[in-house]
Symmetry: C2
Subunit: 429 residues, 2 copies
């Protein structure tokens, strides 16, 4: 780990920088694949599945038989764990429902907001070595609570044309009945455009590699909303002498094992702790199955000593971490002054992996500094708010003149007329 002691504020910007991703411009390939899906529908999808996933599939839709088989294959212990996680995610996201509140802004002028689900949504779950059934929970559970009517899930097949049973089990448990064995650009394209087999959706959710990210950007240009921009995962731990260096190291490593590009930062206020954490990381990393990945990530990670409290929180806000573990005595000061973060884990017994799986909060969070302007996925991400207003005779008398004056000042006479004609009509009564 790189050790930095009381960095000068001039250094902060470079310390907060994420590694420049060497992103290929994939827009041409994405546009080509989208164009072919527009022309040839499912045949184009099958073509690219054959190219990228090396399997020819005649039907991309997962059958009831396949689901029944998956349900059998998942161990009982995992089923129970998923059930607990699901319950906690449900409780927390259900609590986020908006309560309708009618506001009388002027007498006779009632205004309120109501929430409605986004009717058709698409969820993308990446393939690869880790079967991300936890992400199925994090996206499909709030979608169901929001009331989304049509939930489509795409995930790439392996070379045998199969999907990991834990993904199928979880999707089925939540009640997703449209699961397709499609991955990458062609999956995002199919959900953006719609084919005979795959329904077109209004918003697409889920993580993915640079191909998926580029395809989601294209989807946006074609009028489909997306959850948020993507980037490598990150963790910032703030620890003092009340923290346990063993726990801190384990948290840093849980982030580091995600990928070589994972961002890991640990801020301490004490040099002794700095070395304790470093030693613990070196010790724990040895036995990890994903040691190779974690080592690369840890090599780029930073152990920073900052003594001043205000400087510390200023730095954290400047960095805007996706995950922020707060293991210090004076947590109140940091909670009060925190502005930019995705999700916060407070105290020695709140590891980041709790939020990844089972505390109830969502694990789809803004990376790459996007916490400055984006929320993580929450119930709102699956719905939209409609405003309503109901004005009675008294109300239009109260605010009509103001509207007339403002509309006239903006040169919009017909806007003014819509009020004038109503006021005249009331005058006649």
């Amino acid at each position: 780990m790189k050790k930095i002691i009381n960095p000068d504020k001039k250094q902060w910007l470079s310390l907060c920088e994420r590694p420049a991703e060497d992103i290929e411009d994939l827009s041409k390939s994405v546009q080509q694949i989208f164009q072919e899906i527009k022309q040839n529908g499912d045949e184009a999808v099958a073509k690219y599945t054959e190219i990228f996933d090396e399997v020819r599939l005649d039907n991309t839709e997962v059958s009831e038989g396949e689901i029944a088989k998956a349900v059998n294959e998942v161990a009982e212990e995992l089923k129970e764990a998923i059930a607990l996680a699901k319950q906690n995610i449900e409780k927390f996201h259900a609590s986020q429902k908006l309560t309708k509140e009618v506001i009388e802004t002027s007498q006779g002028v009632l205004c309120w907001q109501e929430t409605r689900p986004i009717e058709k949504i698409g969820i993308y779950i990446p393939g690869g070595t880790a079967p991300l059934f936890s992400t199925v929970l994090m996206l499909a559970v709030p979608a169901k609570i929001a009331g989304c009517k049509e939930i489509v899930l795409c995930t790439p097949p392996n070379k045998e044309g199969k999907i990991n049973p834990a993904i199928l089990y979880t999707a089925n448990l939540i009640g997703i009945d449209k699961i397709y064995k499609i991955g990458g650009i062609q999956a995002i394209g199919a959900m953006t455009i719609g084919t005979e087999i795959v329904p077109k959706v209004y918003k697409i959710f889920g993580p993915g590699n640079q191909y998926v990210t580029a395809a989601k950007q294209q989807a946006m240009l074609e009028g489909i909303a997306i959850d948020m921009p993507a980037g490598p995962s990150e963790l910032l731990v703030l620890a003092d002498d009340t923290a346990n260096p063993v726990f801190v190291a384990s948290d840093l490593l849980s982030q580091a094992e995600h990928g070589a590009d994972s961002q890991v930062i640990c801020i301490v206020n004490d040099e002794k702790l700095m070395y304790q954490v470093e030693r613990e990381v070196e010790k724990q990393i040895r036995v990890l199955p994903r040691k190779g990945v974690a080592e690369k990530s840890i090599k780029n990670s930073k152990l920073i000593l900052i003594e001043d409290k205000q400087d510390t929180i200023d730095f954290i806000n400047e960095y805007a971490p996706e995950h922020f573990i707060l293991a210090v005595k004076e947590e109140g000061f940091y909670l009060e002054n925190l502005v930019n973060a995705g999700s916060v884990f407070i105290g020695n017994y709140t590891p980041e992996s709790a939020g990844d799986y089972a505390s109830g909060t969502n694990h789809t969070l803004p990376t790459n500094g996007y916490a400055r302007s984006y929320s993580g996925v929450n119930l709102d991400t699956f719905s939209k708010k409609i405003t309503f207003q109901k004005i009675n005779e008294e109300g239009i008398k109260n605010i009509g003149a103001a509207i007339e004056v403002m509309a006239a000042a903006e040169g919009l006479q017909a806007h003014k007329n819509a009020v004038t004609l109503r006021l005249e009509n009331l005058g006649k009564e």
Copy 2:
């Protein structure tokens, strides 16, 4: 107006289509201007202001003197109208504050959301014939309530290098102290990149023409959030025999005067009303100052007769109108079944122009069918939600095993370790 009677459902898709905008691909020009701003800062901004706005400005920042002059120039009557509108917008948006609610998802596992402002935001106000001071209210008032610390406003100067006094007056009234005489692509570029004069922001708000829209797309690719995708304004009116054809016509025309590309749809359940509305539109349009614009828009507008109630609401949801006026007896049925709309205006005395200026709701709303997946601007648009979790010893004992099982099933051993080490430590005690 085009009259359509009981259209077949096969026709709906084409009736719901917005006119295909013939959008030039402006990305090359936008990238060029952004690149020059990165290299030459304010000098590049000045160069493009000279090219597009035909005025050379040495300093783009609006001075206190200019604001004092504007305050003098705005008529007292307009000031009072703006004060009333401001008060209603404040009341409604202040009511949207999130109340923190701590949820115990499992015993010892506390989860909650808190809202934090987006610290730095940019507001773009277009120039042209209509000085949109109402949009200053709609964007800056909620930004202040959300607690945004730095609010930057850009608006193009006229050929004399001046800005409409009503815009300056309103911005100053709300407390925006960073106002710049910069328009179009170079304004969005300056706020995206930051120059010596113009601060870099995290999110950009506001309407604009196709140049501004293309620049906001580029801003997104460079990591800056935007309010929502843009498109021509639209209104759908649903009226029955309890509606007043004079009012309905005035509302249709208030939409039509926005621009030749404005979308106007009126649905009735009765042929007689159809002709009454048409006659009233023809009568009222004659005296409008913006008659030319309104006539073009009305020519493309649609008067649709649908008799069946369920078909009617299905059609409205399919269309997903930005503005929806509901002037019918059985309003309850439509309110209950409405899924897709930006803002709804209920009853005979609730003209759309009330929401444009002074009812209190926001007038920055999703157009072009985006109401299927986007909310209009509201307090949330200026802030983000952070999730928090605090787990105690009992809590980690309750959910720890589930996390271990799930992490192992996803092949993430270090995630599991972070829990195992904590549980072991508790076992020791």
